[in-house]
Structures are given as C-alpha cells and as structure tokens.
C-alpha cells in the first residue's frame, strides 16, 4: 500500500535531484573562487588600494605666502602684491586628454595648440602637479570656471598674489621684474621648496634680495569628496610672509631722473657721497615690469629683447662708455700725487698739439692759450691734459683711475654689474695681442681710447673726490634696516685714494667749482646758492677729422658728473646721455634739475 501510494503520489525524481545538488556544488565553488579573489584584493594588494583611497580623499594645496613689499626711503611703496587668480590643469584628472584640452581652451579662450605647448613644457613633472595655464584671471573667468567645476575636475582655480609695480616704468631697472620658474630650475636644489608656476625675481632688487622677499608658502591637506568639494581639513601650516625691504631710493629724485631722460637714451645716478646710498638710479629707455608678471607674454617679451635701444639693459651699471673729459679729474689728481705737475704748472693750448708725430686737437679750435690746472679743468682743455698724460705715462694713469673707482665693479647690490676697462700695456699684450702705442696714452689722457666705465663708476668716482679721498660702496638697501645690515655689508675698506693729499683734492674741486659757477663747461649745472662742483664730458665716437671728411654730424655721448655743496657734500649727480652732444649743453642742465630738486627737498 505505501509503495503503491508512493508510486502514485511521489514520482521517481532521483535523477533530477542529483542534478540540483551538482548545480548547488558549482555555485559553492564559484563563490569560493570569488572569496579567494577578495582575499587577493583585500589582503595581498591592500597597501596599494589603501594608498589609492587616501590619494582619492585628500588634496594637498599651497597657501601662497605674500612677497615682501619694496618701499623707497620715504616709505612710498614701489612694489606690492594684489589679489589675483590663476587656473591650472591637473593632468591626472583628465578623463579624455584631447577633449579636455579643447574644453579648457574654449573656456579660458586659449588656443588648443598654445595649451598643448604649455603643458608639453612641463611634461616631465609628475601628473598630479597642477600646471598653470592662465593667470591674472578676472572675476568673470573665475565664476565661469567655478560653474563648470563638476564637469571639469582637471581645471582648478587658486589664489595667486600677484606682484604689482605701482609706478611701472619708474625705477624698473632697480627693482627688476619677476618671471616664472623654468622646469629646469624647479628640479634644481635651490628651488626645491618652490612650486610649479611660482614666480622668481629675475633682475634688480627682486633678484638680489629674492631670499629675503620670498616667504614660505603654507600647505593645506584637505579632505575632498568625489566632486572635489572640500569636506574638512586634516592639516594646515600657515604661510610665512616675505620680509619687506626699504630702499635708499628717493622716489621724487628717481621719478625726476626718469622724466629727464624721457625721449633719450642714457642713465642718471644720484648718490649720497657720505654713505653711498643710491638716491636715484635711472636708465632709459625703460619698460613696464608689470608686463612680465604674467606667465604668458612671450611676444611682448621678445619684442622688448629685440628692440634696438635695449630697454631691458640697466645702462647705469651695465652700459660701458668712454668717460671723456670727466677723466681729466683722474689725470689731475694722479699727476699732482705723482708730482709730475703742481697746482701752478701751466701749458699753452694752441687748439692742437703734436705728440709722437701725430696731431691731437683741442675741442676749442682757437685754443685756450696758457692755462693753469684749475683753469684747464674749468675749460676742459684737451691740450693741457695731453701734456699731463705724456708726463705721467699709461701705468700711472691706470693706477690713478683704479684708485679713484674706475674700471672695477662698485659692488652695488644689484646683479649684473660690469667692470669696465682701464687699459694698460699688459692688457694690450694679453688681451688685445698688440703692443701699446704711445699715442694711445695721449687719447686716454682725455678719456678716450680703449678706456670704458659705467655711469655708476663715474658717480662713485665723483663721490670719492667729493669726500676728499674717502671711498664708498653704493647700495640700494637702507642700512638702517637692522635685519639686512649683514646682507648689505656695504662698508668700504680703507680707500687707496685717501693717500692723496687733501689739498690736491681741493685744487681739483676748485676747478670743478669754476667749471659750474664761473662760465666753465659745466655752467649749465649751476644752482644759485648750492655751490655745485662738476665736470662735463663729451665722448667722441669717431674722430673729428674723420667726421668732417665724411661730412657727418658729430655724434657724441654727453656726460656730466658733479656734487654739491662744495664743502660737506651731500649729493652726487652723474648724467650720461647717449648721442647727447656736448656734455655742457645736454647733460649738465639735467643734473641741475636734480640738484635743484634735492635742494628744495632738503
């Protein structure tokens, strides 16, 4: 009965049942395989995925440190920082590289090829480092980028304190400008703590005092979600602002000097001879350093570099010019000290004289007649100093020039200063590979020939005379700046010019005073009641004979260098105008303006 019932109610399903158990075993085995794979991912590869998860959730960012301000001696701000924004691409976050570039390019209005070139420049840097693709964004750009943040996780906007030179062209050469660190610099030891896209001082004070001005950037580690939104902060180090620096520049004199040079090519240096403080240092043509703060102006940059009048060159410390008649002061002091002439020695000027079988002219064709030393300085007589030069010889001339600050770096706190050249027979043999000609000594006697100096050297030279032998090192950093005193280190040792007898200086200074105040060549610099002492110079670029033969206009550089007042000098002014003509006509009146302004301000 039960068997029959079983057959009737319970059919034989053993085959089917065995198939179900096989299938369940297969499911079990597959599940076990998945567990093994989980073990590989979670235990064996745990470190790798842990690191990836951490990288996902944290974002390192830089909190930029403001750069130190630069002010003049009256606390007028010359260089400051303004708020600005920059946009960067993080290549790591690009989903589709080409499409991403096209979109970012469209959003920021940058041509895709420019964008590509920009990124290619930093190819070798790690993918997570942001590459700045546009800076100085306006608020419109910023809000446009922010609104598309979810679509473009590779594009970020960051604060970017931007250098701003308040008076743009004025003092551009002193302050210098800033440019972006190159990929090579970023990899070097010196800039190991700096970030991609950081700016660095390239010339001038910005470069000289880079380590003082630059602060230490802060760093922030944030927790971010998958859309890049900040959800919290893990750690934060505050930025340390850069130190401000005060310059010795007097803004009013600096601006005046720049204005005076407007439309010419040349340089002006104003010094305080007592301390060596540079009150003004102008070079013209100049440029707007604000233009270089942006990372993307190669075209303007190339234009500036290629301009024939070289606006980027700081002529005051890098321009090499023959000193011309200014050198007669060196000649006079050297000759007095060597004893080859006295204050009363006189020579006769007939407008020209023969030396070593060759005629040498005075600038005054009619001649000056018989002159004493002070009169020779007053009228800047060439023939007088040809005779002095012949008596001294080139070696003693060179020694005197070196003692009075010519032909050597002045050690001013600016990068790129040039040496100049005071020629000697050894120099001629070793560098020029020819013998020294005695006729050249006669040329050098009036500041021509191979002799070249910088306007700043002439200013220091004038300061030594004004100080009656005491030398100074010109400097731009206020020495009252306690933290910076060691940096400047601008104390001159015992000057070799101090060995020259004070009355020799007085004799020369009398000549300089006469030049300015008694209808001498420097009369254009006369300021009533201020006792200006000075000397003009006119550097012939080609000899007068040749110029007349060729029927060309005489092109001369125009010099004036002087100080005031005669006793207890406070200010030295040196002016050089390229192709300015006679020194008395062009350079001296410019110097007068500066002497007057200084006197008014005093």
């Amino acid at each position: 009965m039960p068997a029959r019932e079983k057959n009737r109610f319970y059919e034989d399903v053993s085959l089917v049942l065995s198939r179900t158990s096989k299938a369940s075993a297969v499911v079990g085995v597959l599940l076990l395989l998945l567990v093994f794979y989980c073990w590989k991912v979670q235990i064996l590869d745990h470190r790798k995925y842990w690191a990836l998860a951490e990288a996902n959730r944290t974002r390192e960012s830089v909190v930029p440190a403001p750069r130190g301000l630069i002010t003049d001696r009256q606390d007028i701000i010359l260089a400051e920082n303004t708020a600005s924004f920059k946009a960067s691409i993080i290549r790591e976050n690009c989903r589709d590289y080409d499409r991403s570039l096209a979109e970012v390019g469209g959003l920021l209005e940058i041509a895709p090829e420019d964008l590509k070139a920009r990124i290619a420049k930093y190819e070798s840097l790690p993918l997570f480092r942001p590459i700045v693709v546009k800076d100085n964004l306006d608020l419109k750009d910023v809000s446009r980028i922010e609104s598309r943040r979810l679509e473009l996780p590779e594009l970020i906007v960051e604060a970017d304190p931007r250098r701003y030179y308040v008076f743009s062209e004025v003092a551009a050469h002193v302050i210098g400008y800033m440019q972006e660190l190159s990929p090579q610099e970023l990899k070097s030891e010196d800039y190991s703590s700096r970030n991609l896209g950081d700016m660095v001082g390239r010339t001038g004070v910005e470069s000289q005092y880079e380590s003082t001005l630059v602060g230490v950037d802060g760093r922030r580690t944030e927790i971010v979600d998958s859309q890049g939104r900040t959800r919290g902060e893990i750690s934060r180090s505050e930025p340390t602002p850069g130190q401000d620096i005060q310059l010795t520049l007097d803004f009013d004199l600096q601006r005046k000097a720049t204005e005076l040079l407007e439309g010419r090519e040349g340089a002006i240096v104003v010094l305080d001879p007592r301390s060596g403080e540079v009150l003004a240092l102008a070079s013209f043509p100049t440029y707007d350093p604000n233009k270089f703060i942006t990372r993307f102006s190669p075209q303007e940059w190339m234009e500036l570099i290629n301009r024939e009048d070289h606006p980027l060159e700081n002529r005051a410390i890098r321009g090499l010019y023959a000193p011309g008649s200014i050198f007669k002061l060196t000649m006079a002091l050297g000759a007095l000290d060597a004893g080859v002439i006295t204050e009363h020695t006189s020579f006769f000027c007939a407008g020209a004289a023969n030396f070593y079988g060759r005629p040498f002219n005075c600038w005054q064709r009619g001649g000056h007649g018989a002159l004493s030393l002070t009169e020779a300085i007053r009228h800047s007589c060439n023939v007088y100093f040809y005779n002095v030069g012949r008596r001294m010889g080139i070696d003693r001339i060179a020694e005197s020039a070196k003692r009075l600050g010519l032909g050597d770096k002045t050690r001013i706190d600016l990068p790129g200063e040039k040496d100049g050249l005071v020629p000697t027979p050894e120099w001629s043999r070793s560098t020029r590979k020819t013998d020294w000609y005695l006729g050249e000594t006669i040329s050098v006697s009036i500041g021509q020939g191979p002799l070249v100096v910088t306007p700043l050297q002439v200013a220091v030279h004038t300061a030594i005379i004004a100080n009656r032998g005491r030398a100074v090192v010109p400097h731009l950093l206020m020495s009252s700046f306690p933290a910076q005193e060691s940096l400047s280190g601008r104390t001159a040792g015992a000057s070799p010019a101090e060995k020259i007898r004070p009355d020799f200086f007085e004799t020369v200074i009398r000549g300089m005073w006469k030049s300015a105040n008694e209808e001498g060549t420097g009369r254009g610099a006369k300021v009533d009641g201020f006792d200006v002492c000075g000397k003009t110079g006119s550097t012939q670029l080609i000899s007068r004979e040749r110029a007349e033969k060729l029927g060309k206009q005489i092109k001369t550089h125009s010099w004036f260098s002087g100080f005031a007042p005669r006793d207890n000098p406070e200010i030295v002014v040196t002016v050089l105008v390229e192709y300015g003509g006679m020194g008395g006509a062009t350079a001296a009146p410019l110097a007068k303006e500066l002497f007057s302004l200084y006197r008014e301000k005093r």
């Binding site: 085959l15 089917v16 794979y37 979670q42 842990w50 998860a53």
Partner: protein
C-alpha cells in the same frame, strides 16, 4: 485551504535566513546612503515588510493552482512589458513604471512568471533527455520577455532570465551536444550583439574589465573605485559608516549595485567572508529544499529560484570586484530596491510553498 499541518511544515529557518540577510542589507544601505536625502534604509525596511506580507499571502495558494494560472500571469507580464516598450514615453522610464508614490520594475516580477510557466511546461516531462521541441518551446518562452526587457534597455535584468532557462533545461536533461550547440549560439548572439545591439559605453565596460587601469577616469572609473573601496578595507575594514570611498561618494551606486563594495570597505575581508557565509547558508538551504518537494514541478520551481538568486549574487560580486563587466545586476536581498526584493521574496515564497505542501495527502 490552509491548516495547522501546513503551517507546521513552513521552513521557518529559511524565512529566518531570508529576513536576516535582508536586514543586513538595510544596515549596509544605511551606511551607504544616510548622508544623502531619501531615507533609503527606512524605505528598504518598508519594502521588506511588504515583501514578507506578499510572501505569506503567496503561501495561502497552492503552487499547483499558481502553476495552472501561470500562462495567464505570463501573458499579463509580457503584455505589460510590451506596453512599456510601445507607450514607454508616457508611463515609464527605462525599466521602471512610475506609480504615484513609488516606481515598479515589472521585469523583476517577470522572473516569477517565467519560473511558474517553465515549471508547468516541464512538470510532466519524465524523459531522461530533453527533446528539441521542449528546448524550442522553453527557449521561446524565455526569449520573448528577454527581448522585451533587453530593449528597454535593461540588459542586466534580461540576462538574469537566462539561468532560469538553463536551469530547467539542465534538470530536464540536456544532451552534451545540445549544451555545445547552445554555447555556440550564445557566442554568435554575443558577436551579433556586440555589432548591432551593445552601445559604445557597454562595449567600453566590457573592454575595461580586461584593462581597468587603461582609462581610470572613463569607463574604468567605476570598476577602479569599487576595487579601491574593497582593497582599502583590508582585513578588518574601516568600520561601520567610516569608509572613505563610500562616504565621500567616490564609489558609484553605493546603496544599489555596489553595496558589496561598501561591505568590503567597511567590514574588510572578515566581513566579506561573514556575509558570503551567511548568504551561502541561505542558498544551501534553498537548494536543499529541492529534495523536499512532492513532485517534479516543485523541484523545478525550487531549483530555478535557487539558481536565480545564486546567479545574481555571483554576477554582482564578480562585477564589483572587477572580474565581470558592469551589467547592472543588483545583489539580491542586500541591494536597495523594492521590485528586486519583492521578486526574490516571492521566489523564496514559491520554494516555501512547495516545501510546505510536500505531503501529498490533500
């Protein structure tokens, strides 16, 4: 209709495992979504209660009766799917029908209809090997809803119909030649699908299973983020509601398809093993229930339900740990979603129904 003896024969242990696994799902859904609006964990709990109620209602009706109505049910489901395709724009969005307070996925419930109709078909099939006619009929019965769902397009749900067909054919005794033939057909269908049906993003997903690192921000993003979540969990995990990948939303579909990644991240390898062990206990109990059925149809029902849930589990886990393309198959019982939960509960309800009526003296 229902007496004390039937109630005594209800497999309460299986129901316990079902509820336990579903509650675990609610907890993980909480962790994965409590910081976004929607109260997904509460909703899931309500779905669970409703599904449990539906399960008990299902127990009232003998599965034989259900089977006898299976063609009507099948017809109704197919009509709904057809209507969704035709009038899709007005009533539905993809695989969803929008109702007033919630959405419903008819494709999930189609599974139950398919199970019943296949069980009915094979109920009287006593030969050791399946005939060509039976293969053709059953394949046709599955192919129709498969195509309708695949066109929605919801490839994941459509694919999960296939184990029902294969399961019943295996039980019916598929010849080795036929198995090979089906595989060849599947490959041909795959090639045809690649060329004519799959969308570019789906092709990319397939490609990125092989090379997930190739395109970390594109199609490989989800796989990579999921692997990062699981791998960074390590042995013990980061702790409940403390997974950075899920809490900071790096993980996609955290409370739905990728809920397993949250388990891996927050409870570690230990949690993964624990959850899968509990799950396997449930599956084992389901498969074992096949031996507790009165008739052939009951075995088919039990087996198909077990296979349906197993298939979805295996594919989902394989998908989130990056060894299977992302096809949008949820983790049964654990993933958020009412329709899927209801379908799985009803499936288990069918198994219980078969099991409680194993004594054929009624």
């Amino acid at each position: 209709m229902i007496d004390r003896r039937l109630i005594e024969n209800i497999d309460w242990f299986l129901i316990g495992l079902l509820v336990l696994n579903s509650l675990l799902g609610v907890i993980i859904i909480y962790s994965a979504s409590h910081y976004v609006p929607g109260h997904h964990h509460w909703r899931q709990l309500i779905f669970m209660g409703a599904s449990l109620l539906a399960l008990f209602i299902l127990l009232l009706v003998d599965y034989q009766v259900l089977m006898s109505f299976s063609f009507y049910l099948y017809g109704a489901v197919v009509s709904v799917l057809l209507m969704m395709l035709v009038f899709g724009r007005f009533i539905s969005k993809g695989s969803w029908i929008k109702l007033r307070y919630f959405q419903i996925q008819p494709s999930e419930l189609a599974k139950i209809a398919i199970i019943l109709v296949l069980a009915r078909l094979f109920a009287e099939y006593k030969r050791n090997h399946v005939s060509v006619a039976a293969v053709a009929t059953s394949s046709g019965l599955v192919a129709l809803p498969f195509l309708l769902v695949a066109l929605q397009p919801d490839l994941g749900t459509a694919v999960s119909f296939l184990p029902l067909l294969f399961g019943s054919l295996i039980l019916a005794g598929l010849k080795r030649k036929a198995v090979i033939g089906i595989l060849v057909l599947a490959i041909l269908a795959g090639i045809a699908g690649w060329n004519f049906y799959l969308k570019d993003y789906q092709k990319q997903r397939l490609a990125t299973v092989v090379f997930p690192g190739r395109d970390p921000q594109g199609a490989g993003y989800h796989i990579l983020q999921s692997k990062i979540a699981i791998g960074s969990g390590g042995f013990l995990g980061k702790g409940f509601a403390r997974g950075t990948q899920s809490q900071l939303k790096f993980l996609p579909a955290r409370h739905t398809d990728f809920v397993f990644s949250v388990i891996g991240e927050e409870f570690g390898f230990l949690g993964v093993v624990g959850v899968l062990l509990l799950y396997y206990l449930f599956l084992w109990r389901l498969f074992r229930s096949a031996g507790r059925s009165r008739d052939r149809a009951g075995i088919y029902i039990t087996f198909m339900v077990s296979l349906m849930i197993s298939f979805q589990l295996l594919v989902n886990v394989a998908m989130v740990i990056g060894i299977f393309p992302i096809v949008g198959i949820p983790l049964p019982l654990l993933s958020y979603g009412g329709s899927s939960l209801l379908a799985n509960f009803l499936g288990v309800g069918l198994v219980l129904n078969v099991k409680m009526r194993r004594f054929a003296n009624i």
